[in-house]
Symmetry: C2
Subunit: 343 residues, 2 copies
DNA sequence: CGCCATGATCGAAACGCTTCGACGTACCTC
DNA sequence: GAGGTACGTCGAAGCGTTTCGATCATGGCG
């Protein structure tokens, strides 16, 4: 309700002095500054957002284009959205949410109306129609995820290749010589983000490097199919003693459920690692070793980069975040009996 | 890039004529109007958002305060957020997302800076700190969900009491005389939204009205506990032949999984209804009858009310949406043998 | 003692739009 | 033919900031 004019009047100074006192962009006598601050506070003065956008060079608004569409939306998506908003607030930025449906139209609109200062793109797919657009949009953009063609873009993501290697190495170092990967359901590898693919390929490559056998299986949202998939993966020859899951929480839960049913004990009979998980695997039974995908990490970094980009254009770059390994006791040495027992 | 000034110049008319031609707020000669429209289009003119906010009486921005916090976030939350954004876009409104963490501070900020025209409050809890705030905020607000004290508020929600009655009646009408309800996990009934409570209580009340036996059980996120809960509920006396689930998708899936394991056939041995579900129960095996909670319905209505509120203050009111019943074959007549078989 | 930075403050010009009042002009109506 | 009513258009006044000179003391320096 109170405008800068009211504050100036009450403080007996000019409007510009109030502006400078509050923004600190020019020196103001300490006595004046504190008096203005006190009055502004007392009057509950808050600068009008519209006026600020119009006069200033910043709107203090970021667009967030997220994979929000009716069919799929997982808790993981939500975690990323939350992380972006939280990170943005640390820089006094608010976030305007754009849906999948309106992805390109929305981006165009918020850009051409100068509503936002920059764009954060979440959950980038290999071939994402938003990517070509942000490249041309002449407004800073940071992608969380890595599209097929990263030319001219600023991207942040977990280093899924390194995560896959870390998973393989953790098992190989313990002496496992045959390991399996349960990945995402089928469709994901065709149309979705490209990190499942990156993970899968790096997993196989690392296993080969380490001279151990690896098996890959796509999971399924159908429980019956899923059980069959798991059974088949664990029946590979030589029999896998290590299992890595890189898929949705619900699927991992179902796999664990199924494993419990088969009487396999973890880690005695089978070592298990949950990879690139945004959820808490320490609450699983048994708790699972995990290489987490932390939304806050990628998003904090993305917003940091965005803030830097607002000052001066950023050099395009793909920044991959180092994966970490958290042990919860679900990995151990393979039972030596297992290998010779299957001739 | 192009401003209204550019358009006016190119069309050889004044700025105000352009404004009126494009907004239609005053009559403009058709020839002039179409020429201006063509030029605006050609120049790619888009009104500057900041200038519009400052000069106009609308910011074309809505705040959405959602239960976004690190611990819990379900696909259902996401569906509601999506639905609000989609509905808002139909009125040329964008949505600024506020997190749980910054709930009250954020609301205050977007209000006092006049960044938004109104506030949509999602997933209202019984005793929600946001509720008292929006009541005082002197800016239109619409709640999706019903708080404990609805005084002076505009609320929209599914009629959960009616949904519970519908569930009970559907089973009672088929001849079931003992039915069970698996609700949300324990904590929800203390702190969460109040619809689980409303559903639970109406369920019991309606069963009593119909003269049939009802059992209620809180579910659990722990699978072992969950199985015990389900077993106990189905072991009630007289043995329930109908089961209603009003809980999260993952839990319903787990229950179905467990039921499949026990060899109970649906609906021959047990009739099952999924209630207030935001997900697709027709893909369950077997597909489940459902009384859906459709995010788009509540949110469309909430945004409609908001748009009306922007024109002239709305009378406070709680608007409850009629529940619907979708049959997928999971409900049938109870086996007559069952009742006499347990003397 | 005069000159010039330096600090503190102010006035005014944007920023791009909406909207109000006013001014013609043309057309009716009596 | 005078008066009235639309309609179509324009100029200008905001809206509330930010920011760029300009102004006026003050104090250090040669």
């Amino acid at each position: 309700m109170a405008s800068i004019h009211d504050v100036a009047q009450a403080a007996g100074v000019s409007i510009s002095t109030v502006s400078y006192a509050l923004s600190g962009k020019r020196p103001v006598a300490e006595a004046t500054r504190s008096r203005i601050a006190a009055i502004a506070d007392e009057l509950g003065y808050q600068p009008n957002a519209g006026a600020r956008m119009l006069a200033g060079r910043r709107t203090q608004l970021l667009a967030l284009t997220a994979p929000l569409h009716a069919e799929t939306s997982t808790p993981a998506h939500m975690a990323f959205v939350l992380a972006v908003v939280t990170a943005a607030r640390r820089y006094d930025y608010d976030v305007v949410l754009l849906t999948e449906e309106e992805a390109t139209g929305g981006l165009r609109r918020v850009t051409s109306t100068k509503l936002v200062d920059g764009i954060i793109v979440l959950d980038v797919a290999v071939d994402d129609r938003r990517v070509g657009l942000v490249r041309d949009l002449s407004i800073p953009a940071v992608l969380v995820g890595v599209p097929g063609d990263t030319d001219g873009l600023v991207c942040v993501d977990l280093d899924f290749e390194a995560a896959a290697r870390l998973a393989v190495d953790s098992l190989a170092d313990e002496g496992h010589t045959s390991i399996a990967l349960i990945g995402d359901p089928h469709g994901i590898y065709e149309r979705g983000s490209n990190f499942p693919r990156r993970f899968r390929d790096a997993f196989a490559a690392r296993a080969a490097e380490r001279g151990i056998t690896s098996t890959f299986a796509e999971s399924s949202r159908n429980l019956v199919e899923l059980r069959a998939v798991v059974d088949a993966a664990l029946a590979a020859v030589p029999r896998p003693t290590g299992l890595v899951m890189q898929c949705a929480e619900t699927i991992q839960l179902a796999v664990m459920e199924h494993l419990a049913g088969t009487g396999l004990s973890i880690p005695a009979d089978l070592s298990v690692i949950s990879a690139a998980s945004t959820f808490d695997t320490s609450k699983f039974s048994p708790p699972l070793d995990v290489i987490p995908l932390v939304p806050a990490e990628s998003c904090d970094r993305a917003v940091d980069l965005m803030m830097r980009a607002l000052d001066h254009p950023l050099d395009p770059a793909v920044e991959l975040l180092e994966p970490a390994y958290h042990s919860h006791g679900s990995v151990g040495r393979p039972q030596i009996a297992a290998a010779p027992a299957a001739p």
